[in-house]
Symmetry: C2
Subunit: 491 residues, 2 copies
């Protein structure tokens, strides 16, 4: 059968794009840089949303919804924030169209110009902190721990499905605290939630660490990040959690009265993950045959395909399939029987491989006679014939094995592609020949960081939390360094 | 205790606004006409979403996501659609800000003007049908049954929280079918789903019917609607389902090959409900003390308030409360124990009344001695003292009683406020003095409909499905009419 995807070894970027399109995850739209998330892709995103939402609620957060539009002036207030976000953005200037005087179509009505333009939110710190001013008077009103699921827009010039799109879906947490310590703890807790989600559900190992000053979120005092390694040796920032200090409180004048009756500015955090996680998921596990999904995020965990030549065989096979499906559903397993007669089994096998369904069961007439089922694993592409008796237990265990197996495989890959390097020449060589995470000494200055970025396109992905101390010399300047930091080229 | 809400009898509109604000449901924002949905309001919306989403999936729909931005030219294609939607809308004309040359803040960069402006979606038929063109070739690709949860923007000049806002949240279903009959059946099915949701979950009786031509969705062949009656005698359109014929398929050139090998345009439906349902919910059941929520949509169904004077009493009471809470949770009941010591019981009682928590339990030292609990119903404001033994069963039944009770109350109100009227004078009199649904004869012309609207502000809410045939004369023109239609002033 002809390969439907460009092989990864040939062109990784093309493989990625092929996969997203062919597996029915997403596609480009008529609105420049904005994607359509197709039903199968959206079903995965819904699982991600549901699990994260439960984790946010368990850690004491509530959902709310803030406006899509932000008055332009709000962005002028936080100097770094405007540099980081308000420059490339969608600007709403008018509120009406009218018929074209030439009779063709519609034109913008020049009489309907807004007094103050609105920015389509690229992130919501400004409008949320403008709102919090009215919600917070005293320490009794704190903490506020709110999350929002929303669409945001950043006018990216070069876009790639899921990884970088003008519009994307995300969640943004925005919390308000009475003390610096509590806000820092919140930022750290949410980073842990993200890391736990990445590892336990996405089966994707991540490094937890701090961003350097130049890689920080615009307006943050400290940015925490989880960084994952993709199969092509590039890093992907998968979630960030920011300690915002009192920056936004100052700018939007959000003060509270302490227990002791003093007036103080409120401490803030924000944190978010986006549909970019879909890209990370794809590039962590998938292969030249298509998507490989961790069972915990698969919309279909098990598919059953009947194999038959004569119509009368089908009925009995489907009966058997339904028995198995019922037993699996009782264990909470998401199962689909594909008895559609429009396609041959071979086509179906390829299709479910492409879509990353973790386990495929095939049942033919001989299986019926023998009381067996063919079980195929998507992750290893291995097959075995197993007795139908007790199969639900076997499948349930297999799903756990797969979940764990793909995590271990990704972890092994990351470990094998994490290298200590001590000279700049070696750094460049490893970067070009192998990629991956490179642990190297750096003198701590933004200048050296920038020089490395300009010369090699590698950035400091993070300074790991609880980083091991090690005396050394900056690979570029030779100045003293007390720890290695993590470099990589990144998405 | 002072009333926190303007009484309904004094000023219904003010009562509504007070309630939305004071119960913590929503508030206005810095973006004109856009609201902030606060955590408690959003928790109710989340329940609405979850239940509807399950109902959509049970009826064979999948979720997906389409872009926020729609190229302006798309709106020129469907003539009625542009009249209906593209006139009052948010127009994105630029994609960049720059520092103000005078040094203050940021301004729109005139060099970053878009070649073609984008409209922030007021509804997504156009961009979705432009996408479906690529998805549909043959009858094998049909039906497509997709729903989207999204924000939309319509530049309303006079806004009211939930009822009419510039930005609102909604779901929009967009389906594609091979035959006219199948599309009509889909539109009817989804109207039934909406009616079932309104009645079984919102406890809100609705009329199901067809809109007249002048009240139809812009671009629809037929619009089905559910209409509810609010406490002030005004109607509220609560959900609509449209049979779009082949209008959008023609405009976006979406054809398919039939089984017989012919080429035909695809048949379409769309259907939606929005955060407007929150307004309908509030105005169906609530009273001068605050919100009254049907238990099935209440984020907290039961609150337990300890009553104590001495600190040592509290511990025992809370232990008892926790036992009850555990038993209730096992029955799937959402329960909260409020042992917060910042507020007195009286304050808490008023607060939970304001927020519409269906059942409130109070436990004092005497209850501990007697093995009793005080149970208060929000809907009737009645109280009873019941034995703690078996209380979970009693509460479970009570929640059903309340759910049914408020539905019956709303139904009785609607029945008492649905009147047959046979002359135009009587029509105007009833409309001014009593409001409600008025069943009257109409000659079927848009001219008469418009005259009535201009003179009385009443519109035809719907022509009920399976409407009773009755010979009569139009109350305005005296021309023959074969059925009564439903008039009302409406939100």
């Amino acid at each position: 059968m002809a390969k439907v995807l460009t092989p990864r070894s040939e062109n990784y970027a093309q493989w990625y794009n092929d996969l997203v399109i062919k597996a029915g995850l997403a596609e480009n739209s008529a609105a420049r840089g904005c994607m359509v998330i197709k039903p199968y892709g959206y079903a995965i995103w819904e699982k991600i949303q549901r699990i994260l939402d439960d984790m946010f609620k368990e850690t004491g957060h509530q959902n709310a919804y803030f406006p899509l539009f932000i008055p332009k002036s709000f962005f002028s207030r936080e100097a770094e924030h405007v540099e980081g976000f308000a420059k490339e953005c969608a600007v709403v200037t008018h509120y009406r169209l009218k018929n074209n005087p030439d009779g063709k179509g519609v034109v913008v009505d020049p009489d309907a110009r807004l007094e103050e333009e609105y920015i389509v939110r690229p992130t919501s710190e400004t409008i949320i902190w403008n709102t919090y001013r009215d919600w917070i008077q005293s320490y009794r009103d704190l903490p506020i721990k709110i999350n929002q699921w929303a669409n945001v827009v950043r006018w990216e010039m070069r876009t790639r499905l899921f990884l970088r799109t003008a519009e994307f879906l995300w969640q943004e947490g925005h919390t308000a605290h009475a003390t610096r310590e509590e806000a820092i703890e919140e930022a750290e807790t949410m980073l842990k939630v993200y890391a736990q989600f990445a590892e336990q559900y996405m089966a994707m190992p991540v490094l937890k660490g701090y961003k350097t000053a130049s890689e920080r979120f615009a307006g943050a005092v400290e940015t925490l990040t989880i960084e994952a390694l993709m199969q092509d040796g590039k890093a992907l920032q998968s979630g960030t959690s920011h300690f915002l200090g009192q920056n936004f409180a100052r700018v939007f004048d959000v003060k509270f009265q302490t227990k002791e009756g003093k007036e103080e500015y409120v401490w803030a955090t924000s944190w978010g993950v986006s549909t970019r996680l879909m890209g990370a998921l794809i590039m962590s596990h998938s292969d030249d045959n298509g998507l490989v999904l961790p069972p915990k995020l698969a919309p279909i965990q098990v598919v059953i395909v009947p194999i038959y030549k004569k119509e009368e065989e089908l009925k009995q096979i489907v009966e058997q399939a339904e028995k198995i499906a019922t037993a699996l559903k009782q264990l909470g397993i998401l199962v689909k029987i594909d008895d559609d007669d429009k396609h041959k089994p071979g086509w179906k096998f390829a299709q479910y491989e492409l879509q990353g369904v973790p386990v495929r069961l095939a049942i033919g007439p001989r299986d019926l006679q023998n009381g067996t089922v063919e079980v195929a694993r998507r992750d290893t592409l291995s097959k075995e014939v197993v007795p139908v008796t007790g199969i639900e237990k076997r499948i349930s265990e297999l799903l756990d094995e797969i979940q764990n197996g793909i995590y271990q495989r990704a972890l092994k890959f990351r470990d094998e592609n994490t290298r200590k390097v001590d000279s700049y020449d070696e750094f460049k060589k490893v970067l070009d020949e192998k990629g991956g995470f490179i642990l190297a000494h750096w003198d701590g200055t933004p200048e050296t960081e920038e020089k490395i970025k300009q010369e090699t396109k590698a950035t400091i992905r993070c300074i790991p939390i609880n980083n091991e101390k090690e005396e050394g010399k900056c690979m570029v300047t030779g100045k003293p360094s007390s720890q290695r930091v993590v470099f990589a080229r990144a998405y």
